[in-house]
């Protein structure tokens, strides 16, 4: 038994934000009571959480664990260890591994590897199309049996509107969400940052915000056509957010997430430092303001960092901006902790909405400077 005392308990699912003590019995929460009102049972371990936030375990909706195939960058073992360190008790891993998680045997491999070396739960996301190539629909039903919780061709959008429509139809029948990396690849081709005054001044090729928002428009309309459950990943543009707000107002089953980089940093922060290179790229000031407003009013359902491990030896290669250069910010060592209250709230909602949600608990230490943004970008 473990008694967590004197912490500030935040659980958006039950709209809780109060000074409470929590008693755990093994993996179950046995009792939650007002501070000092729970009697410490015989032999219970006591954790003094003064000045700390006690929250349900966070769920990372969007991570790249790189296994199988790119173990030099990340493995399920190292990725889940980082997740545990950052307060996450479950990680949804994207299918762009080598081979792509587009069939049940790869899904089972991920599930089995997690049993052996995983520090937290891993919920695989299956590819929408075979090899994420955008041609044929993957074995989604078989992957679902093996344990996937959603489908996505993440790293790119589902290639054509026709296939996206078919995947959404199929996933609706299978009761699986479709996660879209919304990007018009022709508008984004060759770009290394967001198009604007900063990209023009620096002489770096930019992609317009519309590279994202025209694809979001496509996907939302197809979600309405098919009735599918659609989740827009790493949304970055004001125009995209407005469309999601519109879709929600029409009652569509739509959700979206934003990354901490996009609601804190903007394109003006880019000064030829490739740790600010990412996809989608850092957006304009008005986009950031819109994302923050979206977090506050609930249009944004969750936040996660789209962690993607890269090899250490890649550091020098990605140091110069150019289309052949890796994204730097994706390599950050874990999801950035809450500097803004809205962050914790949206995490709570995301957990609540996500399939398989269950209690874990994390005690987040806000006193530690290690969760500062600049630290994670290094």
């Amino acid at each position: 038994m473990l008694l967590i005392k004197n912490g500030r308990v935040i659980d958006p699912a039950s709209k809780t934000d109060a000074a409470l003590d929590v008693l755990l019995d093994g993996e179950k929460i046995k009792e939650v009571g007002l501070a000092g009102k729970i009697a410490s049972p015989q032999g219970a371990e006591i954790l003094d959480a003064s000045g700390l936030i006690v929250a349900p375990g966070f769920i990372d909706l969007h991570a790249h664990l790189r296994e199988p195939g790119q173990e030099s960058s990340e493995t399920i073992e190292t990725g889940t260890r980082a997740a545990a360190r950052g307060g996450f008790t479950a990680v949804c891993c994207m299918p762009n591994t080598k081979p792509v998680n587009d069939n049940a045997s790869v899904t089972r491999f991920i599930v089995d590897r997690t049993k052996v070396g995983g520090s937290v739960r891993v919920w695989p996301i299956g590819a929408a199309s075979v090899g994420s190539k955008g041609e044929a629909i993957a074995e989604i039903a078989a992957m679902k049996e093996a344990g996937i919780v959603a489908v996505s061709d993440d790293g790119k959008p589902i290639a054509t509107a026709k296939l996206a429509r078919q995947v959404m139809d199929y996933c609706r029948s299978l009761d699986l969400p479709v996660i879209e990396h919304s990007e018009d690849v022709s508008l984004a081709a060759g770009a290394v940052m967001r198009e604007g005054v900063t990209s023009t001044r620096l002489g770096l090729r930019g992609m317009p915000a519309e590279a994202e928002s025209v694809c979001v428009a496509r996907d939302l309309q197809l979600a309405e056509l098919t009735g599918a459950r659609l989740h827009v990943a790493h949304l970055s543009a004001k125009a995209s957010l407005e469309q999601v707000r519109w879709a929600k107002s029409r009652g569509l089953r739509v959700s979206c997430e934003v990354t901490p980089h996009h609601f804190t940093l903007i394109d003006e922060d880019v000064q030829y430092d490739s740790k600010f290179k990412m996809n989608p790229p850092l957006a304009a000031r008005q986009d950031r303001e819109a994302l923050l407003a979206g977090l506050a009013d609930g249009t944004v359902d969750g936040s996660c960092a789209a962690r993607a491990g890269v090899e250490r030896c890649g550091v020098r290669q990605r140091a110069v901006w150019g289309s052949g250069i890796r994204n730097g910010a994706g390599a950050c060592a874990g999801t950035i902790g809450a500097e803004r209250a809205a962050f914790a709230d949206t995490h709570g909602r995301a957990i609540h909405n996500w399939p398989g949600a269950s209690a874990g608990h994390r005690t987040k230490d806000r006193r530690k400077p290690a969760r500062r943004l600049d630290h994670f970008l290094d």
């Binding site: 001044r201 620096l202 030829y272 150019g322």
Partner: protein
């Protein structure tokens, strides 16, 4: 006055005073170009590394000539033959070059910001000889020197830049230099190459984007041509015929500019595309003076960065002159 910067990476951060100083220091080196004997001993024993990761003829030869006329030796890295082709990282290549102990690195690279990045990791002066579509500081300086020679000033001029401005490092350097002397800019070319964002890249400098060449040329004192990079005609796909129809500088169109207007071109020219031969070879054209001035400007850059000289010392080009006259009297 002395220079406070260690590297010359861009003109954007420099002040009008610093830019004037660089131009003034180039002046005596211009005289050297007219001498029968052009070689000084100022940088004897010094080595300038020329690392052109992107192909170049004119700029590489110009920096090479500048170094040798100052008495310095050069080391040449040619991108095609280098280890970069074997997968070596940029920084490793530069560290290897630096291990041979040059006193200055002159570098060109196809990626914007590459020279900034390299300079952050080196303790010798780095000169940007063109980084992607960002800046080309020595070109900006030689253009300003040419304009000052022809028009007597670089202050408060109406400057028109024609062509692919979005992808031009020359345009950016010119805007950041001339803008600090009160010049007004008119940028003109196909809309895909002249985005409105350009109007805001140099706060304090009036910049307007127009899409009719007649409007762009009205009252211009300086017309800067940019090479139509034929490799860019694919992105976006644009017909060369359309370009000629709308934006070619010919003698009839040139008459709209101020009567004393001058025409600059950083080269290499596509005769018959962006400029007609009659304009390129006409009295208002400065293209060959630009090339000559390029050597003088680059001598000044290398001299100032390597020797750390200040205004108070005697300029090396003037020292030579006095020696020559002493020899003459022997």
């Amino acid at each position: 006055m002395s220079i406070k910067f260690r590297d010359l990476l861009a003109l954007e951060p420099l002040t009008a005073d610093e830019l004037s100083f660089l131009l003034d220091q180039s002046k005596p080196f211009q005289e050297i170009q007219k001498h029968p004997l052009k070689k000084l001993a100022t940088l004897r024993g010094k080595t300038v590394a020329l690392a052109f990761f992107e192909t170049s003829t004119r700029t590489r030869i110009s920096f090479g000539a500048a170094a040798s006329r100052l008495g310095a030796d050069t080391m040449n890295l040619q991108a095609e033959a280098s280890s970069l082709k074997k997968g070596e990282t940029l920084l490793d290549t530069v560290f290897n070059l630096n291990a041979m102990k040059p006193d200055c690195l002159v570098m060109r690279h196809a990626a914007s910001g590459a020279t900034d990045y390299v300079a952050r990791h080196l303790d010798i002066p780095v000169v940007n000889a063109g980084d992607g579509t960002h800046e080309h500081p020595s070109q900006g300086l030689l253009d300003a020197l040419t304009i000052r020679d022809r028009l007597g000033t670089i202050k408060n001029l109406n400057v028109t830049i024609l062509g692919d401005i979005l992808h031009s490092r020359v345009a950016r350097s010119n805007i950041h230099l001339m803008g600090k002397f009160g010049c007004k800019f008119t940028l003109c070319g196909p809309a895909m190459w002249v985005p409105r964002e350009l109007e805001k890249i140099a706060p304090g400098t009036p910049i307007r984007c127009v899409y009719r060449i007649e409007e762009a040329l009205d009252g211009a004192d300086v017309i800067m041509m940019l090479r139509v990079q034929t490799e860019r005609l694919d992105d976006p796909p644009l017909s060369a015929n359309d370009y000629v129809l709308l934006y070619q500088l010919n003698a009839v169109r040139l008459r709209r500019a101020s009567p004393n207007a001058i025409v600059l071109h950083p080269g290499p020219m596509n005769r018959g595309i962006e400029i007609t031969p009659e304009v390129a070879d006409g009295p208002q054209s400065c293209v060959l003076e630009q090339v000559t001035n390029g050597v003088a400007v680059r001598m000044a850059i290398l001299y100032l960065l390597i020797s750390g000289a200040t205004e108070s010392g005697t300029h090396p080009a003037l020292e030579v002159k006095s020696k020559e006259s002493a020899n003459a009297s022997d």
